[in-house]
Amino acid sequence: MPLLELRNVTSFYGNVQALKGVSLRVEEGEVVTLLGANGAGKSTTLRSISGLVPAATGEILFMGQPIHRLGPEAIVRLGISHVPEGRRVFPGLTVTENIMLGASNRGRASRAEILEGVAEMFAIFPDLARLSHALGWSLSGGQQQMLAVARGLMARPRLLMLDEPSLGLAPIIVQQLFGVIRSIRQRGMTILLVEQNAHMALSVADRGYVLETGRLTVEGSPDQLLDNEEVRAAYLGGARGATDPGTAPTAAKVGP
C-alpha cells in the first residue's frame, strides 16, 4: 500500500480549476518529485494534500485512510509535514523558537522532548545551531529555507512535503540544501518534492511526475525524465513528442 495516494483529485483556486484529475502515489521511503512550469498546479497539489485547499473531487489516502476532508491541524497530526513555498519562517521568533513550534502537532511532547528534538536538528543543520538566537527575519534566504525544513522535520512526519525549496536561492546554496535533502532521505524519510528546478530535483529523486496546467503528462525515473523532450516542452513549449518522429518518448506518458 503506498504511503500517500491521490486518486483523480480536482481542485480549484478561486474560480480557476488548478488540478484536473491528478492521480499519483508515493511509496514509503521514496523521494518523489513533482515537476512543471509555474502555474502548472504543483503547489496546489501539496496544498490539497495538507488541507489548506480542499480537494473538490477525488480522494487523497494516507496510509490507506482518506484525509481529503480533514483540516491542516488534523493532517499534520497524522504525520504529513508541509514545508510551504516561500519559507515562511516566523519573522519575530528566534531560530530555536521556530524549530520548537515545529513540534506543535505532537501534543503530548514534553518541553524536554522538544528541546531534544531541537538539538537533533542542530546536529543536522549546524549553521542553524550557530544562529539559534537570531530572529527569523534576519536570516538569509538559504538559512531560512534550512530553518523551514528543520521546523518541518520536528513534526516527526512519515511524509515530508517540500514546496519549491530552491526558489530564489543562489546555486551554491541550492547545492547545500539538496545535500541536506539527500541526508534526510538517507535516514529513511519519505519525501514529496515540488520543484521548478528539474535537474536538481531529479538528482535526488527516485521517481518524478510532470504537471502541465493541472494534468500529469509524464511519469518516470530520473533517467527517463532527464533531458526528456516532454519535460522541456512542459517548461518552455515547443515540439510535442507525438507529432515529432525524431523524439520518441521513453518515459511513460500519463493520460490522454
Binding site: 495538507s50 516566523f90 519575530g92 523558537e97
Partner: protein
Amino acid sequence: MGFLSINLQILFSGLAVGAVYSLVALGFVLIIRATNVVNFAQGDFAMLGAFAMMTMLTALSLPYWLSFLLALAAMTVFGVLFNYGVYYPLRNRSFLPVIISTLGASIFMQNTVLAIFGPQAQPLEKVFKASGFEVGGVFLDSQYLVILAVAVLAVAFQYFLFERTLLGKKLQATSQDKDMARLLGIPVAWMIAITFIYSATLGGLAGILVGPVLFVSIGMGSVIALKAFSATIIGGFGDVAGAIVGGLLLGVVENFAGAYISVAYKDAFAFLLLFLFLLIRPQGIFGEKISEKA
C-alpha cells in the same frame, strides 16, 4: 507647592492615567496582531469590568479580593462571548463589516448595562482605604499607586507569557503567519479565542483600576477607547511596546496640556494628537512604514 513638585504631581497622575490607557491599548494591539481586527469595543471591556466589580462589591457585598477575581472571571466569559459572537462569524470578511460589528458590539454592551444599571455615574471603592501619602511635596494617591503597580505587573506577566512560555510563542506565531501556524498543527482558532479572552480581561482590569478615579459610567469606555487608539497610533500601530509607551506618553501629555493650556479641552488633545500623527506619521514612533502592496 514648588514648581518642581507641581510638575511632578502632574507627571505622576499623568503616568497613572497613561498606564490605564496602556492596558487597554495593549489588549487592543494583541487583537490586531492576532486577527487584523480593529476592535472598536475595546474600551467597553473596561466599562464592563468596572461595572462587574461594582456589582460584586456593592450589590453583593463581597470582600474586595473576591470581587476582583470574580470580576476578572466575568471578563473572561465576556471575552469568549465576544470571540464567538462578534469576531468568528465575520472572520473572513473585509474590514468594513468587521469594524461595524465591533461598533455594534459596543452599542450593545453600553445599552445592556444602561438597561440594568441606569444612566447615573456610580462611585467605585478604591483598593486601599488610605487616600495616599506625600513625598517631597508630591501627593501620591493610593489608587494611582495601585494602578501603576498593577500595570507594571501586567506588563511583566505579558512579557513572561509571550517570551517565556510555549503558549506565548504559539500566540505570536498565530499573529505572524496564521496559515503557517495551522500547517504546524497550532490550533489557530483556539489561539485567537485566547487572545480575545486575554484582551477582554486586560480591558476589564483597566476599568476596575480606573473606576474609583473616573467614576463608573456607561460612556467611560468610549473615551478610554479613543485614548487607547491614539496611544496605539502614537506608539506605532500594531507594536506591543509602542502601545505601552504611547499610553504613558499620552497620559502625561494630556495631563500637562490640561494643566497648562485648558482643562475643558483636555480630552481634545488626545484626538488632536491622533489626527496629527495619522496625517504626518501614521506609523507612529516605533512602527514601520505602511506601504501599499499591488
